[in-house]
Structure formats: C-alpha cells, structure tokens
Point group: C2
Chain length 399, copies 2
C-alpha cells in the first residue's frame, strides 16, 4: 500500500532506513519521508483516491504507514472547501475559496499530523510519545494516542488555553503545566526523552507529522480536478502545514499528475510574532528568534521555527510572499467571515482574510486568480475572543 522508501535529511541529504525509529538527522535538521515516486507513477492512477472511503488515509500510497492495521483514525481529513462569494465580491476576487480544517476531530488541522504520526508510532512499536505543545497539538495527539493505546507525555505552558489543558486531561495523557514558555516545556520534554527513552514528537523532530499535513495539499489539488490554484494563504507558526503542502505539490509535479504551475504559497503571520515575514523581507535563509512574541492567535505565536528555512524555501521557490497583519484586523476578520459566510473560524485562519485583502489592494493577487485560504481550526476553540453583549429581556417582554 505505501511506497515509503527512506528518510532523507532536509539539509545534508543523509539517508535513513524507513524501518527504524528516527528523529532528527545527525546534523540536527528535520528528516523528510521519500517515496518511490517512479513506482507510483507506473502503478497508481490519480483518480483512484476519489472512490475510496473518505479521510486522509485515502492517499495511502503517499503516506508512510505500511500496514493498514496500524491506522489510527478518528475521522480526520476530507474537510470541505467553500467558495466565498460575498467576501470575494467585497475584496475583489472572483475565485476566492476557503478550506475549513475546523471540521477535523479535536477541531483543528493538528488532527492530520497526529493521525499519521500516531499511526506510524504504533507501526514502529513505540510505547511512549512525548511532546511540548502550545495547546492544539497536545489535544490532537492525546486523542489519537488514547485510541492507539500509546502513552503520551505532554508539557504545555501553564497559561495555555483552558480547553487545551482539558483535552489533554480528559484523554488521559500524562500532562504537565510548565511555569514558562513552550520553549521551557520543550526543554523539560527533551530531558525526559533522554532519561526515559520516550519518542520525541516535538514539531519536526519526528518525520511523519508533515506527511499528515501534506494531505491538505493533496486534497486541494484533487478538489480543483488536479489543477493547482494560483495562490494559497497559510497562517504560519511552526510552518509544518506550509512545508507539508509544498512537499505534496512537489510530489504531484514529479508524478506528472499536474501540469500547471505550483501555487504561490503565502505565509501569513501576526505583527506581534513575525519572524518569517522579517526573514523573507530581509532575504535571509533562516529566521531570527522573535523576542516578546505576542499575538491573540496562539497557534502562530512561534518565535523561531525549527523548519523556518524550509518555509522560506517554499515561499520563495513558489513565487509567494509573506505578510503580517494586526491583532485588531484578526478580530475584525473573524467577525466579518462569521456574518458574511456563516464560518466561525480560528484567529490563525482569520489572519488570512486580512492578508488577502492587502494583497489584492497592492496588486499581488489579481481579480481572476484562484485563491485558497487555509483555515486551520474551529472558532469554537477560541470562544474567549468573542465578547458578546446581548440584550436581556423580562419574561413578559415583546420583541
């Protein structure tokens, strides 16, 4: 079923066996999964995926799980794409779309990475997984680990969202709150990994999460009948999603399944935490640590991503760009999209609405272009951002 052939270092090109447990390359860079694309080209018809049972494991040939019995699924993937007619009219785009990842289990796109990551951990016989998290990844990995019967150790900042703490707790993960930032939580996990031999599943420290995220790209390509749209906007924190989508598109190109140009990949950040935007504007290969990182969109409050150089590569090679928006614009966009399109999305996703508006105004995006916004989660996980003021009526009132 899978055409997984080996792991390859994203920096030095070193190769590792697909049958062993690996984290980073000896050189310290993330490993990427490589497939026998020649064999897929010969044996697989791209139209076969559509007829299979829904969910991201439809794309099993391009995923690293080798035996179907190891698949751990909670119904992730195959999220809907909607054309945003009203918003498109308002900002001047005739073909504006949103892919809504909020309909994944645990309410975010993190479910994709967790589904593939936990399934592969099961296949490799791993007993305990450990990870630091800002919140949503902890919820997702907790759910899949619970289903798989794998122990999960999670450390998150003590000021992480309540809902993230509650998710990790109810799924039964060994969860610790750390009086510090996610980087401090990461250090505690790294020590535990050394001491106890846990499998380290921190962002990009294990090679399989990207493969789960990659399926967003496969689904977008399939949605447009195996043609690439012109641009994809993506809220960028750790950047695994954008790296995954880029990887999907390169694989599809190599397979010869798509002939037109890979979309411009557009990384969107908040003004309060904009390391990728800065590095892009300053033509640097990697980002610098963003001091005092601060934004209401917690999922993109990542001061320095391990895979920053991969994100910057993807943005540049695809002729994309990087854009920052204000927190006040995020809140405005959240409200706008709910009222115009009936979609209550995550603040990370809402950055894209403000960004696409800017990019049309400054001419980077043209009226006829097919543009996709990738919303990463459900607004239900961010209820604290909605400040309702509703009128109260006595029981004998009239409206």
């Amino acid at each position: 079923m899978s055409y997984f052939s080996y792991l390859e270092c994203s920096k030095c090109g070193n190769k590792y066996s697909s049958k062993e447990v690996h984290n980073l390359c000896e050189c310290g860079a993330p490993l990427l999964v490589r497939y026998d694309l020649e064999a897929i080209k010969k044996n697989v018809d791209k139209n076969v995926f559509k007829g299979r049972e829904k969910g991201l494991f439809r794309f099993k040939e391009l995923l690293p799980v080798e035996d179907e019995k190891n698949i751990v699924t909670l119904g992730e993937g195959d999220t809907p794409v909607f054309k945003l007619e009203k918003l498109g009219d308002k900002i001047g785009l005739k073909n504006l779309y949103i892919k809504d990842e909020g309909l994944n289990p645990t309410g975010t796109f993190k479910a994709r990475g967790a589904a593939v990551g936990v399934s592969k951990a099961k296949e490799l016989g791993i007993k305990t997984i450990a990870m630091p998290t800002a919140g949503n990844a902890g919820g997702a990995w907790s759910a899949y680990s619970a289903k798989a019967g794998i122990e999960l150790v999670v450390a998150m900042p003590y000021d992480a969202p309540d809902l993230a703490k509650k998710e990790a707790y109810i799924y039964g993960s060994k969860t610790y709150l750390v009086k510090g930032l996610i980087s401090d939580a990461g250090k505690i996990i790294a020590k535990g990994v050394k001491k106890h031999g846990w499998f380290d599943a921190a962002t990009l420290k294990e090679p399989y999460r990207i493969e789960g995220k990659k399926t967003m790209g496969l689904e977008i390509a399939e949605y447009f009948n195996w043609e690439f749209p012109d641009a994809i906007l993506y809220p960028t924190g750790g950047g695994v999603g954008i790296i995954g989508i880029w990887k999907a598109f390169k694989e599809l190109e190599e397979l010869g399944w798509i002939k037109n140009k890979i979309p411009k990949l557009i990384a969107v950040q908040s003004e309060g935490c904009n390391p990728i935007v800065k590095a892009f504007n300053e033509d640097k290969e990697a980002s610098e640590f963003c001091e005092d990182a601060n934004t209401i969109a917690g999922g993109i409050r990542v001061p320095k991503a391990l895979g920053d150089f991969l994100v910057l590569d993807a943005v540049r090679e695809s002729k994309g760009t990087a854009v920052e928006v204000k927190d006040s614009e995020i809140i405005e966009s959240l409200n706008l999209l709910a009222k115009a399109e009936g979609l209550f999305i995550a603040p990370e996703g809402a950055t894209l609405v403000a960004a696409v508006n800017k990019l049309v105004k400054d001419g980077f995006l043209k009226e006829e272009e097919k543009v996709v916004l990738l919303n990463t989660g459900s607004g239900l996980k961010y209820a604290n951002l909605v400040d309702e003021k509703l009128p109260i009526l006595e029981i004998d009132s009239d409206i």
Copy 2:
C-alpha cells in the same frame, strides 16, 4: 431532484401543499414531508448516493429542497462511524459502534436540521426566521442563516451556555437573552411571529428540520451496506432526531431498499428530566410536563416535547425501550470514552454509554447484536464539564 409531494399532519392526516409556507397543522400537530416513494423506487438506485459529493444533500431525492441553487451548506453530514472495540469488550458487545455527530459544522447534529431548514426557507422566499433555543440549535441556525443572508431572531434563556450566546452573536443573529426558561423564550418568539410575520422555526413547528435529521438514519443504513443494525441508542430531548431516523427507516422499508427488521430505537434520558421514559413505562401515548427538569446534559433538558407521541410511537413500534441514567454516570462515561477510544463527546451522547451498559446487563441487548450509539455533539462545546487538575512544574524541573 426532490420527490417532495406534500405535507401531511402527523396526527389527523390533513394534507398541505409543498409550495406554500406552513408551520403546524390546523389541529396543532407537526407536519411531515411526504415524497413520491413509488417514483423514487422506479427511478433511483440506492447505490447512486455513494458516488456523489459528500454531505447530506447527497440524498437530495429524499429531501425537500427542489432547486439545487437554494442549498445552503457548511459541510454538514457524512459524519464518521467507529467500531468501539475497547468499550465493546468491556461491556460485552461484539459489534458496538458510535456515529460521531460532533464533526458537523457548529459541533453538533443541529447543523443537519439547520442546513435543510434554512435551505428550504430560502427556497420559500422567507426573509426572517425566528426561534427559541436552549443553545446549540441557535448556533447552528445562526451560521446557516448568515450564509443564506436570511435574518434570524433568536431567544434563549439568559443562563444558556456562554458558547451558544457567543455563536449566535458572532454570526450576527438578532439574539435576546430571556430571564426565564426556554418555554418563556418560546412565548416571546411566538408573540413576535404574530406581530412581525416572522417564520416560526421552533422545534417541530416547521416541517423541514426533521428531514435534515433524517439523513442520520440514511447514512447509518448505507454504512451497513443497506442492512439495518439491531439497535440504535439516541439521547432524547425534543426527539426530532429519533423521529427523523424512524421516518428514514420507514421510507427505506417502503422503498424496498432494505429487507431486514427496523432497529430497536432506544430513547435515553437523564433521571433529572425523564418524561419520555416515564410515559413509556406507564404505557401512555404522550408525556407529562417534567417539573424542575434538571440535568448537566442541557440538550436533553426538555420537560415536554411537542413530538413526544411520535417518539413514543417510534420506540414502541420498533420494539425498543426507554432508559434513564444518572448525571454522575454521564460524567463517568465521558471520561471512559475519551480515554478508551479517543472521543471527547457531548454529555448527551455520553448518556448512551451508561445506558448500553445497563441494557447488556439486564439482557435487553445481546452480545452478537449490532448496536449503534448516536453521539449528538462535540465535547468541545461542553468544556465546563471537565475539571482538570494538572501538576505544575518549575522551568528547571525533571519529569
């Protein structure tokens, strides 16, 4: 596309035109949508649905929307079914399944009713819809009305869950909090309907919501390759879901698409609000108003349902039963399912875990029977029920 022929009173059998706006029958009972099943039998192959784009509107021949351009969709329906291996082992069922409605837009099965209800309102040219709600229906109808560009007036108890208030608010509904119960909210809406001519979309006062809920039954039948399972457990408040599933199964039977026996439909309530269980046990045709109704599962805190007689009919005709569980069992079940199966479900859904356990113990359900639990929503909407107590670490700690 639709084979909608007329509306029929569920009590007196009076018929009404499918082309006009109708609420209740003159006799005060709910109206049901009737289709030209003979024509469907002749023209439609049951295997055609599977090949269509996912979502409940796949079943368009058995839905009341007549012109595709009126469909208002946010990605509802086609929710996953999982086999509960660990839970099944624990309680002694070899074929225990759950259908997880938490993956619908707005996080609950209410999205199904809203999708069909709002689409049909659009088709009928309705400008303003009004409804009382305990919470989740208000959120769902707000989202779909926003997308449709139809005005929605919502009244809910001032002590409704915060998240429900925030949903109605962010989607831009005209939302009022009422210093009283849902019945008081209902009275204020009823007065507004008379005064302003709004379309009344209170539970069972409009005929189309049931049709949306019906698709849960169609999906279950299709999932089991057009064979009925042996039993379905359903958390019962207003009862629209169980009435809808029953209606789906009767239609499938009449179409000749399924040959085996309709499943036992099992209504599950909480001890603090058990009018259907009482009426069932006392062999009554309708329920009595449950004074001081009280349960942590807000969606089934319905003291007297307008369609109670239909629920009781469905349970009795299908040789099902009615079961009540304690609130403490609901919390235990929530925790059990999250840890064993990676599913954080709504408290309404959790009633079913406790109930199925009882029904196996007392012999009503047998080890080999195919049993489906219908979870109505995501636990993310009920975070207040999770009381996390997590250890806090200093930044230089070891685990």
